[in-house]
């Protein structure tokens, strides 16, 4: 109670204070991501986060990758989707251990969901060593770019039917990725996709990004380059 004016307000406690905080609101995710990275490394695995708009061909590329590397390497897949187990079922058919995380409406995976997914992957597969763990993010070229999942490599995919303006329109995904895959190149004759524009815009944003053009369904040099890149990742990790 204020004695001097009788206003009923305790002026002592009610004075306005300015509190300096300067704390990142993404920090909780970043911290969990760091823990995930250590968990992946404890398992001996290199983790690859696959980001693209819906339908760019992430699951198809993983299916073909498992066909080619499944006998040679211990692979695991964490599938992120808003709903349904469809993508996990497709991967399971190819014989790789897989868990499906459904985000229940959220448009991206975050580090906590991946932490849970990794636990399930270990339990359900009974494996405690992996060479490569793929994380297929929710089909969305915007939101997943904000969330570090603890991956070692981030790969962004744009398919030929989507158009070559995607790097310029969705810069964050390209700024934060190490690899850019232009997918479904078997469809180039049917679309006005400019490989040159896509490359130019991506490199303008991120001069260090490496670009591979490939078709998962038709195979060929680009797909071989992708497999080579994955093998090299393992060699680099083993040397580190």
């Amino acid at each position: 109670m204020c004695e001097s004016c009788g206003c009923g307000i305790d002026h002592e406690r009610q004075t306005t204070r300015t509190i300096d905080v300067y704390e990142s609101l993404l920090a909780a995710n970043t911290k969990q991501a760091g823990e995930n990275r250590r968990s992946f490394e404890t398992l001996g695995a290199v983790a690859v986060n696959m980001i693209s708009g819906p339908g760019a061909g992430k699951t198809t590329l993983l299916e073909h990758t498992i066909e080619h590397l499944g006998n040679e390497l211990r692979l695991g897949v964490i599938e992120g989707d808003i709903e349904t187990e469809r993508d996990a079922a497709r991967i399971r058919k190819k014989g790789a251990p897989v868990v499906q995380i459904t985000t229940g409406g959220a448009c991206h995976l975050d580090a906590r969901l991946v932490h849970k997914g990794l636990h399930r992957l270990r339990h359900e597969s009974g494996m405690d060593r992996f060479d490569l763990i793929f994380i297929e993010n929710v089909g969305n070229l915007v939101c997943p770019a904000t969330f570090d999942l603890g991956e070692h490599q981030r790969v962004v995919l744009v398919s030929v039917p989507e158009g070559s303006d995607k790097p310029a329109k969705y810069p964050k995904a390209f700024l934060s990725s190490q690899r850019f895959l232009i997918t479904k190149t078997d469809l180039l004759p049917h679309f006005d996709f400019s490989i040159d524009e896509a490359r130019r815009e991506a490199l303008k944003l991120n001069p260090a990004i490496r670009i591979t053009e490939l078709s998962a369904t038709a195979g060929g040099q680009g797909f071989e380059d992708w497999l080579l890149y994955l093998r090299q990742l393992l060699r680099t990790a083993a040397a580190a």
């Binding site: 009610q14 306005t16 204070r17 509190i19 905080v21 704390e23 904000t146 969330f147 964050k172 944003l205």
Partner: protein, 115 residues
């Protein structure tokens, strides 16, 4: 969509700060949002308004957002330029190609005014 969950994280922070400083009312909340944080400012503000109404503590709180642009800095002479759409190949001042980009990809709670 994730703007909403990020705003929820902000309120968790605000409740903690209010308790710690024995505040009864939060008046102004200042945040910095990087241009490449992947956060839609309008959606974030909208989520803030919805969540603020839920509690007496934050009912009158005002959100002030500063948008942070990435800067391209020269490692040789220190010259910096804004890098909104593209990164220059060489420094405009000294011609060096040793440039770094500040990411501008975070969401930071900088200051809270409370009483």
């Amino acid at each position: 969509m994730h703007e909403f969950s990020l705003a929820q994280g902000l309120f968790t922070q605000l409740f903690r700060l209010a308790e710690q400083h024995r505040a009864e009312k939060i008046i102004i909340v200042r945040v910095e949002i990087g241009q490449f944080a992947g956060i839609v400012i309008d959606s974030f503000s909208f989520a803030f308004e919805i969540l603020a109404r839920e509690r007496k503590l934050t009912r009158e709180a005002v959100l002030e957002i500063t948008e942070i642009k990435p800067l391209c800095g020269c490692l040789d002479c220190g010259h910096t330029v804004p890098a909104d759409d593209s990164v220059p190949a060489v420094c405009a001042q000294c011609g060096s190609s040793r440039l770094t980009l500040s990411a501008a990809d975070d969401l930071i709670l900088t200051q809270v005014e409370m009483e």
